[in-house]
Amino acid sequence: MSSARVDRQVLTELQSLLEDDFSDLIAIFIRDAQHRLEQLRAAITAQDLSTARMSAHSLKGSSGNMGCVEFNQLSDQMEDYAKAGQLERCEALMPVLVQEAEWVFGELNGLLINP
């Protein structure tokens, strides 16, 4: 199940690339993603779909680089909805995205404790 949601190979490669900085990368990714998610939620509440789109785009980019496949796909879908002006779909997708993010953060933190 988790292998479909997160690409382990990407994470292993990042780990060997960044070595000691890998834990910093995960911390930065989580902090940044949390910030964007807040931004995204606020934008949807304010019905500001262009800001929502930017935030979703940014989440898509960074999650893709981190090998978070499911998170990446959900952000992509969010970006598409925002681009198409489908506010209701954005609202409906938001809790799903947050749930996935929280799962991902847990997985990544777990990776640091049990490499």
Partner: protein
Amino acid sequence: MNSSLRILIADDNESDRMILRSIVSKEGHEVILAANGEEAIRLFWEHRPDLILLDVIMPIMDGLSVAKELRSRLAEDYVPIVFLTSLQDPESLAKCLDSGGDDFLSKPYNRVILKAKIKAFGRMRLMHEKLQAHNRQMLIEQQVAKTIFDNVAHSGCLDLANISHSLSPLSVFNGDTVLAERKPDGGLHLFLGDFTGHGLPAAIGAMPLAEIFYGMTAKGFAMEEVLREINSKLRGILPVGVFCCGCFVELNFYEKHAKIWLGGLPDIVCFRAESQTIETFRASNLPLGVLDAHQFQPEFINLTMADNDELFIWSDGIIEARNEAGEFFGEDRLQAIFKQSAVDTLFSSILTAVERFVGETGADDDLTLLSVKMVDMDVLGLPDLENKRGSLVGPQDWELSYTLGPLTLRGFNPLPMVLNIITEVEGLRGLSGQLYTLLAELYSNALEHGVLSLSSALKSSTDGFSAYYAERERRLSVLTEGKIIISVSHYPEATGGVLEVTISDSGQGFDHQLFLARDVSDDGCSGRGLRLIDGICEDFYYNPTGNAVTALLRWPSSR
């Protein structure tokens, strides 16, 4: 080759930036990080990186604007820009390239592809640097060559009061050439040439052309001889398809006469000062460098010009100058200017009109305009040919004897060489035109009447001249005996010197008394020659047999 590059990474997402930095620095490159567009621009000018990895969507200033601004300010330097994007649609990707990007890298980043791209752009940048170095070297060489070229091609008297000219080169070198030189007799030779093509290849042909033009004009050669020499020279050296359209003008300020050769250039205009009207003349000759020497038969326009009448000559760059709509300026617009403009501003009016017509688009051919006015001789004064050497040293006391045998006589003209030697004497250079006519007259007498035993009587019948020359050619081609000896000596005197020229031949001698007594008003060639000999020689006599003639000339002339 050091393959390490300085690379600027601009991405607003910190984790992405961190991953990129790790990949790039692991490859041994130096990394500079920017978190937004504005910072990217500031760091670019601070560090001058070799390559930019640029996120498309960033706060403060997005990647597209950064690329546009850098491209507009980096005119010559080539700094590759690779866009980082998770955008997929073709339109967005095309926009990246339109704004000045060279490539894109899609997210998520693939380490192998990124490495390969950095390497490829490193190579491209190196090639660009080499190209630029070559380019700079070429420009330096062109500037040096241009200096030499200008010394050769523009050393004449284009600054005379009655000449206006304008050359607007498309590049350092110009395919158009304008030459002007005074003749020893006070007249003027003027030439506008337009070589096919532009730039260096076109300008190279102008070098021998200018050398011949100035050299022969200063030595007193007539326009037709100069033209023939230029034509055969260009014919010999130019590749097929390269030639020189031109207009050659010989002005005689005493007789108020212009003799014009026009080949391949647009119609020229003579503006009549008194009636304020124009006459146009059309080219009837092929350009120079097209025909072989024996096919080259120049046709001339003979024109009487009053003082202040003005000739206008232009290259087709003016007629074919195009405006934004792609229309030609055309001869009609050009000729209309003569009706509308004040007389004394014609030249500048033409240039202004063409510039205005072409507008922002700029000319796509060399634009050259030349005009020359008939003026009184006093306006110009006598030519100052001696001054060019600026010294009075040189040969002063010398003698030479030059014996020409039958094979040489068949087809060789020794006179320019002999004249060259004579005019090494400073004081005689100004007389080179008259001296040449003198030598030519005496030499042809010796050859035709002496060695070839031709009788002048042949000339007097109806088709006498052509019969005479046909017979002359025939006898020359089978000549097996006979000779001509040209003896020249020069000795200095208190001021100036004295030149003695003797031309003797192996013939029986001819009735020189008749020659000397011939009516001076005879307008044939020999008549004119005699008048001239009478004008410059202090003494002139034949030996009793009539096969040796001596001319004595003292300078400065007291006559």
